[in-house]
Symmetry: C2
Subunit: 401 residues, 2 copies
């Protein structure tokens, strides 16, 4: 079914509208995957999953000037239009929408959509107009493309939350779907901005992921003080001199309000500058899972061998078990250890899930699913669930393929 | 064709969506007239004109808390739901949408649409969150009602401008139509808030209209200094001790930027507090019309006797002529005179145009039409055109009906 029809490359707003109108007339569901291009496996996972749910997948590629601050990387943001189109063609995308900034923001454009409060937290502190730019361009793309559904990655958790809120508040009927963060072989969350990293900066970039592991472990151990958890994460990241912390947030997953004492559902979100790259990562923790599993006190089993189950998921179970194991070791020592050896070896073939049949499991719409949920075929390959023992098994499994 | 079908009273958002979906499925054009209820002839003119253009007219009645400031009149804003529904039923309105504030703004609502710069000018100075509230609720109503077109009055010129800008900037395909201000017999612009006025406050309320007359006269005389024009208007309004000026703006009709020297197209907008009522009025002037007519130097003729003509309109012609006459008298003296006797006796039967066949002429969409354009059957009855002599004729004509 895929690759049979040629992808339509659309530049003008009027042409995009006509395309969507025709698709709707023939009863086709339209899914929009908004991107800024320089597509990686994270984007392609969204496209693959959208393809399973909608006959007409539209991918927009637009480096939105409104979401860049005056001293940010708008002019050097990676671009690879020909490569992007080739990738999307293979996935059976119906149309790629590549509007010009001059048509999206003609002279005199002065309307903004702002999701108050949420937009000022986390990344919004250092990037005060960023989410206003995101919400505005998403609202515009929704009005132009008229999709039935739109897809976003959990890597940009705050963006996902803001888009959901905007859709609900502005009475839009567009369904928002999300997928877990896709990671590189060494655990680094995929981002177009990873191309800014030099090989020497890699260990510093990996501290985000390592810090999230540490958070899982000390929460499972029973730590409830956000200040103490943050302090531990800070130490993990500081093991690498090239990693400059912008923020460590331990917050409510819906309001993004900072917590003093962690709650049943807690988001841990990080922004760290490494050289030219500003990197973000996050994990959503559910204490019921962590402590429930801890209470069971069953012997640990490699997560990679666990079978998928609806609730709790294998990754959550494995994460809790590894947390129990981790609890016997000093947290900082663990962190120091993991800063030398990357903890997570998941997603050894990051492109695999999207090149063939999209294996990425569409996440449920509300509430926002944990960013640590498995992205691909092995449900155990998520951040919070991976421990060295698990990773060995996962690696072996990957080698066997 | 009218009054045959019963009006549908819709309270819930889901029901409203269903209604619109069904209307669209059967190919009916949907027109939305957003109101805050307490309907007067201005609203009904919009409804009547909408009825000519769309099979399914939806009138929303929602006293939007978001557009009221903390010390404003939200709690006492006039309400007359039964009376409103009866009026709309007579005009063949398909549905009246009366949502609850709790459903429009559920707990946690935090998204706003803001048209920057335009929203901070004129009324936005004293009401800093007003237009954000307007833009947000209009965006929400558009998303719920899904109209093909929406209707707004020129009386709220700034609101009309902001809604147009929002629609354009957010790539909405909804057509915005407007109609000239409808006035009471004594020239007062219709507003639900006029019900706050006591008979003693009437002369103070009429100074807005009188000031706009004066603006027309001194511009036709050749005055180009905004400061001098404003100073004249200020004196007119100050003839009535009960009239407290909030602003007098002489500004660009698209950007609302204050002008030093008036331009070809100039908006004069006023906000005056009279007792509990905050009153606004405005007129859009085109100097080409004023000076062209002034150059002709033909003898003046009563405007009421003028025959309709496409361009320049009789009102514009009469306005220029009366301006020439006014030029020989001191402006303030004229104002003093008119503050005793109401200048404008137009629209003696304000309900007439909408009770039968709507006579209100739908204005063209872009650019915004002058608020001084005739609202009803007698094109000469607009603000800029009326002089005492004309009014006598108009009154007689009205008496003959």
């Amino acid at each position: 079914m895929k690759n049979t029809a040629s992808i339509k490359v659309i530049k003008g707003i009027a042409e995009m509208r006509r395309f969507s109108l025709e698709a709707r007339k023939r009863g086709a569901k339209i899914a929009l995957v908004p991107t800024m291009g320089a597509l990686h496996a994270g984007h392609l996972a969204l496209v693959g999953a959208a393809r399973q749910k909608a006959a007409a997948v539209v991918v927009s590629i637009f480096v939105n000037p409104l979401q860049f601050g005056p001293r940010e990387d708008l002019s050097v943001y990676p671009r690879d239009l020909a490569g992007d189109i080739a990738k999307l063609q293979k996935l059976g995308v119906a149309a790629v929408f590549i509007p010009e900034a001059a048509e999206i923001y003609p002279p005199g454009h002065r309307t903004h959509v702002e999701v108050d409060d949420l937009s000022q937290r986390l990344c919004g502190r250092a990037r005060p107009t960023h989410f206003r730019g995101v919400a505005t361009v998403v609202a515009k793309l929704f009005a132009i493309v008229q999709p039935h559904q739109a897809w976003f990655g959990q890597k940009d958790y705050q963006q996902l939350l803001i888009v959901r809120k905007m859709v609900r508040d502005l009475n839009s009927e567009i369904e928002i779907f999300d997928l877990p963060t896709v990671r590189e072989a060494d655990g680094l969350a995929l981002s177009s901005r990873n191309s800014y990293l030099t090989p020497e900066q890699r260990p510093a970039a990996l501290t985000l992921q390592q810090a999230l592991h540490v958070a899982a472990r000390i929460m499972a151990k029973g730590e409830r003080s956000a200040a103490k958890i943050a302090s531990n994460l800070r130490e993990v990241i500081r093991t690498q001199p090239g990693a400059e912390i912008e923020y460590i947030s331990i917050c409510h997953p819906e309001t993004l309000h900072e917590l003093d004492t962690i709650e049943v559902r807690t988001l841990v979100a990080l922004a760290v500058r490494v050289g030219r790259a500003r990197l973000i990562d996050n994990a959503l923790f559910d204490l019921r899972e962590l402590s429930l599993r801890a209470d069971l006190k069953k012997p640990s089993k490699p997560a990679a061998a666990a079978k998928p189950a609806p609730s709790p998921s294998p990754s959550e179970r494995a994460g809790a078990k590894s947390a129990i194991k981790a609890a016997v070791k000093p947290v900082v020592k663990t962190a120091e250890k993991t800063s030398v050896k990357p903890v997570v070896k998941a997603a050894a073939k990051p492109l695999a899930p999207v090149a063939g049949k999209p294996a990425a499991k569409p996440a449920i719409k509300t509430p926002v699913k944990p960013a640590t949920r498995p992205a691909a075929k092995s449900p155990a390959k998520s951040a919070a669930s991976s421990v060295p023992k698990v990773n060995v098994a996962a690696r072996k499994k990957a080698a066997r393929r």
